[in-house]
């Protein structure tokens, strides 16, 4: 575990929808170069946590600090330009844009040529376009040959399910973030694919230097790649620590296997 200033610090976070508290008094720190997984039964507030960090739901109380400054009151696009990018539980690509365009558009907040550059076709505009394209191809190349070559100019709608998930990660990478939030990155993949993606998550940290927080239900992925596991239950932090410790924690076992949760799971899933 790294020390010093945390990259992301969540302090006493409350998120409430009407009377329902989806996240309740949560305290989390994520350090640079860390891979943190967030687990918990359905309805534990995992996705709400992500939505709160990326400013897609309003925060009721508490604070979210990124690199020491608060993210509260920012719009989602400002959060992204601060350096936090995310994927979605139900893949949300721009399906009618090409694969290359999907990663090019994600660099919007990292580039700045506006209407004038485009109209006068300035040198700065052209070199920036070339840069955007190059970075996009580089990001796509991370996933092997699946998303490049003749696929570059095909609309995202032709992609298979697993490749859509990969493209979504590529799109998040293209925003040049410091922290990646992946919402169930291997959901719906077969064991071979999820094993490969698990390795890729490791490489994302090692080669690209991202800190990564991901939500996952697949315990083998969690075990293989996370430095630290955070367990949420009913919007509260149940425990956190190494996978080995957490998985043996009786409270975690109870949260997953406990009477009421089994019934809840049966209803919600």
């Amino acid at each position: 575990m790294s020390s010093g200033e945390p990259l992301l610090e969540i302090r006493d976070l409350d998120v409430a929808f009407g009377g329902l508290k989806a996240v309740n008094g949560l305290n989390i720190q994520v350090y640079e170069g860390e891979i943190v997984s967030v687990i918990g039964p359905n309805g534990a507030g995992k996705t709400t946590l992500f939505n709160a960090i990326s400013a897609m739901v309003p925060v009721t109380a508490g604070d979210i600090l990124f690199e020491g400054s608060s993210l509260l009151g920012l719009d989602p696009n400002q959060v992204t330009s601060r350096g936090i990018a995310r994927t979605f539980q139900n893949v949300r690509l721009f399906t009618n844009m090409t694969i290359l365009e999907n990663v090019m558009v994600a660099q919007h907040c990292r580039t700045k040529r506006g209407a004038w550059g485009a109209l006068f076709y300035t040198r700065a505009f052209r070199s920036e376009e070339a840069e955007i394209r190059a970075w996009g191809e580089k990001v796509l190349g991370f996933f092997g040959s699946r998303l490049v070559g003749f696929r570059l100019n095909q609309p995202a709608s032709v992609l298979s399910y697993a490749n859509r998930r990969r493209l979504e990660i590529a799109r998040a990478m293209a925003t040049r973030p410091k922290l990646l939030l992946l919402d169930e990155p291997v959901a719906g993949m077969n064991p071979v694919e999820s094993a490969e993606l698990t390795r890729l998550i490791g490489r994302l940290r090692d080669e690209w230097g991202f800190a990564i927080v991901f939500i996952e239900h697949d315990m083998s992925v969690v075990r293989d790649v996370s430095d630290r596991v955070i367990v949420l239950n009913h919007g509260e932090l149940l425990t956190e620590g190494l996978y080995a410790d957490v998985s043996m924690d009786p409270r975690v076992i109870e949260a997953y296997l406990g009477q009421d949760t089994i019934i809840e799971d049966a209803i919600t899933s």
């Binding site: 925060v59 608060s70 509260l72 009151g73 719009d75």
Partner: protein, 374 residues
């Protein structure tokens, strides 16, 4: 803290647009308040300094004038409310603005005009006014129901499930078509209703209201009550509410979604037909553009009341009606704007814009299908 509003705290940078909007909100509210204050000042004493400053030529209103404006606003507002029901129900169920609903209303007024003139030719209009009125209401409601149902079948049903702006554009086309069909079939000139009996024109009761306005408000209130009963307490009404909540689930629960949607259009059409007759009673003249402005205002009423909400539509209609009726004289005139009565339509639109700026979900909150709540 209200739901759906991001909390504004800790000196976070807001974008320029937000700051501009805040200025705009403050400006709008300020304008209304100053106008009102000037009006009140002027009512207390036409010669006080504040009123003079605001508008040197201000005269203020007499009590009777003010009452007249409010009553005519309420009568028109009740009519808007009836039209608004159609907008609100269709938006609630299908999630798109049926732009052509105003034209259904216009067809109602036209049907009423044709039928009542025929009745007047036969001498029935004068001899049995109430009977003829009921007759033209029934004919007009039938015609408008048919028009609305055909419209749904021809133009909107094939588009179910397409991107949401597509049916809106289609409905604009339908509206255009109906308006111009009315020109080519019935001619471009304004056409008059036959003369009404004296008791409709005369002023009644101690506050001197014209009979036609009492009639309009009573009819609107009664039909509103009937509709409320239908939607809240019958099986068909429950089906409508279920489809509005989630069409797919409703279909799985054994509700015939298509038939329910047809019913929604039919009920909306019938209400528009009724409103058309009320228009005829109030203004006694109809032209192909009759549907346009009342249509837009009725939609505004639906939004103001909170779309998908029946009582809200009526309340919104009344507020829009009263606002456009008294607003110009109450707020604009004291501020020194001349020729204010020309601006009543502008005031109606301004109310819509203002409500969407200050409270986008309307007074009573929206009831929308799940996927439209973004």
């Amino acid at each position: 803290m209200r739901q759906g509003w991001a909390p504004r705290r800790t000196g976070a940078p807001r974008t320029g647009v937000d700051q501009f909007l805040t200025v705009l909100r403050v400006f709008a509210v300020g304008l209304v308040l100053i106008g009102l204050a000037a009006f009140i000042a002027q009512e207390i004493n036409t010669d006080n300094a504040f009123a003079r400053w605001a508008n040197p030529d201000a005269t203020g209103l007499t009590g009777a004038q003010f009452r007249g404006l409010v009553v005519s606003g309420i009568a028109q507002g009740a009519m808007y409310g009836l039209i608004a029901l159609g907008y609100s129900m269709v938006y609630g169920v299908l999630g798109f603005i049926n732009f052509a609903h105003g034209e259904v209303f216009m067809m109602g007024a036209m049907t009423g005009m044709i039928t009542s003139n025929k009745l007047a030719d036969a001498g029935l209009w004068e001899s049995n006014f109430i009977g003829s009125l009921i007759f033209i209401v029934i004919v007009s409601m039938i015609v408008c129901t048919l028009v609305a149902v055909i419209m749904e079948r021809v133009a909107y049903r094939p588009l179910r499930g397409s991107p949401r702006l597509i049916p809106l554009i289609t409905s604009i086309g339908v509206s255009f078509f109906i308006q111009n069909a009315s020109i080519v079939l019935l001619g471009p000139a304004a056409k008059a209703y036959p003369d009404v009996p004296d008791w409709v024109k005369d002023k009644h009761t101690f506050i001197q209201i014209e009979g036609s306005r009492i009639l309009v408000v009573v009819v609107a209130a009664v039909s509103m009550g009937v509709l409320w009963y239908l939607v809240e307490h019958t099986k068909g009404g429950k089906a409508m509410r279920a489809v509005a909540e989630d069409a797919e689930i409703a279909a799985l629960m054994g509700i015939n979604v298509n038939r329910t949607i047809v019913k929604v259009f039919a009920v909306g059409g019938a209400m528009a037909g009724l409103a058309g007759i009320l228009w005829g009673i109030l203004f006694r003249s109809v032209i192909h553009t009759t549907g346009f402005l009342p249509g837009i205002k009725a939609f505004s009423a639906a939004v103001v009341g909170g779309i998908g909400h029946l009582g809200g539509a009526m309340a919104g209609g009344l507020s829009i009606g009263v606002a456009e009726s008294v607003g110009p004289l109450l707020i604009l005139e004291p501020l020194g704007v001349s020729g204010v009565s020309q601006l009543r339509d502008a005031v109606a639109f301004a109310v819509l814009i203002g409500v969407l700026l200050l409270r986008p979900a309307g007074i009573f909150g929206e009831r929308l299908p799940a996927e439209d709540r973004t």
